[in-house]
């Protein structure tokens, strides 16, 4: 099965409070208040002088540090923003060159917005499995650096922070085992926030049901139930999205929300960032299933069940 051999994250040194960032973005007091009191934001990392490469490369280099770079057969850069003004067509190849992975087949995956990371793990693992070389690895690199004000405030409800993460993927390695992956896309919402008000309302009504369906199916395919899941790792757009999406309080209590006030929303990197935090804080119970979930504008719902290995990070002794 697909395994995560290493996952690493990175943030620039500069941190700002939500009030400081709101002021930089020209928000009024009522909007600023909304982000702190309603959406649960507190602070985030944000450095306007940071390049996209400065953001994504440190985590990628850390993920690569334990392996022979020649074993990396695929480099997949996944980005949430997919307009050409946000990510140039040469970005993935530049990352390959800067990492010295000249022999890795390199491309980018996108157009699931913040859900793309889970698909990228699945694509990476599937390519390795099809190739059949147990020593081969794939590096999944995530991170976006929106340059324009409008892209730093997503859907009126998220302030995008700076954060990136990378995962080293293997087939049948010794790391965290991916036990299932389920994804559903509802293309009638492909216009995202450009959808009509009626479609946006329809999306809000559909979202809770479909998210839980996907989660249940992922658990079922992994041979467990949602009750068995020790923790659900979701993106960090804000707290209200998840309150609106996961109506069941018992299920919502399994979600890891601690990084929303720490880092705010780092787009497609959130799920891996949160995985790293849980590992560093020794909050995984080894060999008990956990779950990634993601919702991407446009509109994709994904869930992936995994079992942390004993070296992923167990409880504090």
């Amino acid at each position: 099965m697909i395994t995560l051999e290493a996952v690493e994250s990175f943030f620039p040194d500069r941190t700002v409070t939500v009030e400081e960032r709101a002021a930089e973005l020209g928000l009024n007091p009522a909007q600023t208040h909304m982000f702190r009191r309603i959406h649960g934001l507190d602070r985030m990392h944000y450095d306007p002088d940071l390049s996209l490469y400065d953001l994504v490369l440190p985590a990628a280099r850390k993920a690569l540090s334990q392996v022979d770079p020649r074993s990396v057969r695929y480099l997949i850069y996944c980005h949430a923003l997919h307009g050409g003004r946000s990510v140039g067509p040469e970005t993935a190849q530049d990352i390959k060159r800067l990492l010295g992975l000249e022999n890795a087949t390199t491309f980018a995956l996108t157009q699931q917005n913040c859900a793309i990371t889970l698909s990228a793990i699945d694509v990476a693992g599937t390519l390795l499995r099809a190739d059949g070389d147990p020593e081969a690895r794939a590096l999944v690199v995530t991170g976006d650096k929106p340059r324009h004000r409008a892209a730093q405030l997503v859907m009126n409800t998220c302030v995008v922070g700076d954060g990136s993460a990378s995962a080293l993927v293997a087939w049948n390695g010794s790391g965290t085992a991916v036990r299932s992956f389920v994804t559903r896309t509802r293309g009638e919402f492909s216009d995202g926030m450009m959808s009509s008000p009626a479609l946006i309302r329809a999306e809000s009504e559909m979202r809770p049901r479909l998210m839980v369906e996907v989660m249940r199916e992922a658990a079922d395919r992994a041979g467990c139930t949602l009750d068995d899941i020790q923790v659900v790792i979701a993106p960090n757009p804000n707290t209200t999205l998840w309150q609106d999406t996961i109506k069941d309080e018992a299920l919502r209590s399994k979600f890891f929300f601690d990084n929303i006030p720490r880092y705010s929303h780092c787009l497609a990197s959130d799920v891996l960032i949160n995985y790293v935090t849980l590992g560093e804080e020794k909050r995984f119970e080894p060999d008990r299933p956990a779950m990634f979930v993601a919702i991407g504008v446009g509109m994709t719902f994904s869930a992936m069940v995994f079992t942390p290995s004993s070296n992923t990070g167990g409880p504090r002794s």
Partner: protein, 268 residues
């Protein structure tokens, strides 16, 4: 790999730029967002007419027989992105072809993106995760194409569907090689019986095509990254009965890398 080409359609159409009202924020910040307090720019009925990649998707899907839709994997590949990222076109393509697929876009590899997309489709097929996949390869002319001598003011697209099986259209190999290696790789593909057809993109070196046992077809350069695929659509019916092996070869001038897709045909 037993991925097999089932359907192939293409479109080449004069570019239709997005109306000014949909070009996005003046600062270019138009990636699936609206400003706080802002209002999305909707057409009166809330459903703006498709432009760019979505328009190409409509033109392509309308040509595909319904029996060939309903894939479980939908891939969208392009060499150059649309400027605006408002619409998630991979999701739209998924909806237009059945709505039950795992869908995403593959890019960031120049002319190699469609080749890697076939490789991904083949991997999902070989691992039993897909039995029916669909790939759209799209290109929209840049806004200033009409004023540039090096750019065609046309939008182009190809849609391929794949199923599982051997015989005509079976995908044999997808590989990328440096230019120094291209001639030897092509020489290895010359079959013992019959001839090899090399479909070469605009940047390819015809000198790399074997002098013995091979024929050359030069693809047009009207679309960026779609030329060899459009040629496949236009000529596959005749090629599959005339050649045991057909190889599509597109060369990225920037990286000096040639991407090859080897197809087995009925004449084998």
């Amino acid at each position: 790999m037993t991925l097999r080409l089932r359907t192939a359609v293409s479109v080449l159409t004069p570019s239709a730029p997005a109306p000014a009202s949909r070009l996005g924020a003046p600062d270019g910040g138009d990636d699936a967002v609206v400003e706080v307090g802002g209002t999305p720019d909707h057409e009166p009925d809330g459903q703006p007419a498709p432009t760019g990649h979505a328009r190409l998707v409509d033109l392509l899907v309308d040509q595909v027989p319904e029996a060939d839709t309903g894939p479980d994997l939908v891939l969208l590949a392009y060499a150059r992105p649309e400027a605006s990222g408002f619409k998630t076109v991979a999701s739209y393509l998924n909806m237009r072809t059945g709505g039950d697929a795992h869908s995403l876009a593959l890019c960031g590899q120049g002319l190699g993106a469609p080749f890697s997309a076939v490789r991904v489709a083949g991997a999902y097929e070989r691992t039993g995760q897909s039995s029916k996949s669909l790939l759209a390869i799209l290109d929209c002319a840049p806004a200033d194409a009409a004023d540039r001598p090096d750019a065609s003011p046309a939008d182009s697209g190809v849609l391929l569907t794949f199923d599982t099986g051997s015989g005509a259209g079976a995908v044999d190999t997808v590989v990328s090689v440096g230019s120094a290696e291209l001639a030897s790789r092509l020489a290895e593909l010359v079959p013992e019986g019959g001839r090899l057809l090399v479909v070469l993109g605009p940047g390819g070196d015809p000198g790399a095509v074997p002098a013995q046992g091979a024929d050359l077809h030069r693809a047009s350069g009207e679309g960026h990254g779609t030329g060899v695929w459009s040629a496949l659509v236009q000529h596959w019916t005749e090629w599959e009965s005339a050649y045991p092996v057909v190889v599509l070869c597109d060369t990225d001038p920037g990286s000096d890398t040639s991407h090859l897709l080897v197809l087995r045909a009925a004449a084998e």
